[in-house]
Symmetry: C2
Subunit: 431 residues, 2 copies
Amino acid sequence: MKHMALRPLEAPIRVAEIICVGTELLLGDIINTNAAYLSQQMASLGIAVYHQSVIGDHPDRLKAALDDAFSGRGRPAADLVILSGGLGPTYDDLTKETVSNYFGREMFLHEPSLEAIKVYFEKTGRTMSESNIKQAMMPEGAVILPNAFGTAPGVAVGDDLHTAILLPGPPFELKPMFETSVIPLIHPFCESVLISKNIHIIGLGESDVEAKLKDLMVTSINPTIAPYCGNGEVRLRVTAKAESRESAEKMCDELISRVYDSPVGDYIYGIDIPSPEAALISQLKELGLTLATAESCTGGMMGQRLTGVSGASAVFLGGFMTYQNDVKVKLVGVDPQTIQEVTEVSAEVAEQMAEGTRKALGCDVALSATGYAGPGGGTEKNPVGTVYIGIATPSATTSLRLYYRNKSRNYIREAVASRAFVAALEAVKNM
Amino acid sequence: MKHMALRPLEAPIRVAEIICVGTELLLGDIINTNAAYLSQQMASLGIAVYHQSVIGDHPDRLKAALDDAFSGRGRPAADLVILSGGLGPTYDDLTKETVSNYFGREMFLHEPSLEAIKVYFEKTGRTMSESNIKQAMMPEGAVILPNAFGTAPGVAVGDDLHTAILLPGPPFELKPMFETSVIPLIHPFCESVLISKNIHIIGLGESDVEAKLKDLMVTSINPTIAPYCGNGEVRLRVTAKAESRESAEKMCDELISRVYDSPVGDYIYGIDIPSPEAALISQLKELGLTLATAESCTGGMMGQRLTGVSGASAVFLGGFMTYQNDVKVKLVGVDPQTIQEVTEVSAEVAEQMAEGTRKALGCDVALSATGYAGPGGGTEKNPVGTVYIGIATPSATTSLRLYYRNKSRNYIREAVASRAFVAALEAVKNM
């Protein structure tokens, strides 16, 4: 038994493939978030991914997938294959055995892993079963990656030109293992650095952004610039590849300043913001202002997203879910007369909700949303997809009418929350 | 140009593969929800999926992927390949051209599709660009699938034994197209019916469920029984394959009644429930009861999930996001003395929050949650992961202490909300 380094330093890792193993993926019972996470990590290490695949726990199919990945098949051959799943204790978990066999390695009982599994069971107050011993069996010469959140250790194994890294399937085990153990392991073999920065735009659709930036987008090769949309915002991802982090960063920054100078510039609300709610929380924290919400159609989504941001407690006091009209009247003082005259889906009611929340909680800024998120509801004047948001600050109360055509209830609610956060961000900047 | 049926009825569809096309998937910029959705649909049509893959917009790689799928490669050959993505108007969208070429078909301008695209642009108030004409070019002999939510029509094309179905990448276009056009198209070629039913269990972990049901799980071949966990519940999926829907249903029901008779039976809270919140809403609706929430650590998530259920407005009045302590005091009448004595993370405060909410809104049932969802916070007595939920009904107020070890903030919050919904469900059943 020999413990050896992963591969010679002269053999760089340029191309990787992702193979996810699991029947539950093939049945569509779970969504493959691991493939996206691993691909993103590869991109940021400057490693190209041309292929992802999902297969069942089946040795022959796994072997064929490894062959295809390492030999290339209409695509560049992989230097590295990352596998997730199939490291469990049961008889149908075969990934480790198959990969070990693929590289012609014997398996041995890795005592430190067995010890760690025992400790894990003790810590979580459960009894270790015989079958868990299988999880401590390792291919000879492998690098073992400890699992802080589960029983299956990860494994890196291969030969001078081919490296396979095996990770457990559950994302909450895979991600910390990747960050703690995999990055340090493969970093020395990465030749270039890929840096991405995100330009966050709100108030323009994806096609508007593309039309306004067409020339810049077509001519930008390195850095590249690509639009993504979601949660009611458009994100432009600027990605530069360079030999050092510093020069990649500089390349990104130069392109970003060109976007700021373009007709899109006015709609940019931030760079590299994890989310609109995080941008709002951080701005309010800086200004020492507090926030509360009154939510009808979003039903608590704004609060939920705000309280998902670390540090929210310094800013977010709480608020009201005023789903029904008499609750709007009772809790945030909406005038029933207004509801009767202009309905609850109106600028007036949105503004009264925001103002009433400021009064009730004594916060600096209050946000409200009332509308028809669908699928039911809507009037001729305000069809399904119409939502009013209200923003009350110490200096003014305003509202915004939003309209989303042909979108799902969930899409509309997410977009409304995002738009409200950015509207509040702008309001406090102009306060 | 001939328009022909998809394939002869004598050629059943038994095996399908999913190929998703898109650089944004390979970069990990978006999560591949289409693969899960399409696989799930295949499963319910009784069609087996042994392989999913993701590739870039690249003709040679797509051709190799089609070859592998239709010829099988360590796996059963596919009768049907479903592709998503690459149907857009730009030069790098190549799926349709490549597949057309693969089956040796010429492309022609499909006038009805062009007309539909023009109408779509008019309806959404935008201007059609020259490049969209490309989206109306179709392989000869293809079946065209209209797109109600975008510009790219879907396409079904192939020969007597191989069928390729091309769908647009955006899920909100792909899903309705699948349900409206693809299912009727392929249904005649499906031989068997797969029916799944879900047994919903709360209050037991996945490993407890497995331990208690081990014999039944190992011996069940058809129907199969498989556990999944998420959102704080364990779901047992029972899947039967049969020639008719009726006999598959009967097979499922028989296995389900055996699970009811097992030691797991007491923890079942429903069969085929879309979610705990849907179960609660439907039960309360039936009883004519109203509901409100007071949320500290969940910050609005309960309200958001409840208002995501269609029909929630008959039951859910609204509620309070009492994120900070003085808001708990002000809005739902928590006694500041209690907070000082036992902290806000306590059974007492959870119960006061629920009772205060009932009083403030005059609802029948009130739910509350207060706890340390992490990553910060926690005490020796109540470490991170400790959450108290309160349930107030006309007959009693109770609370429940939950503890989640080593879980993320989001996991804990989702699980707490689910647990609270099921606790309320039980409380009203015993009322």
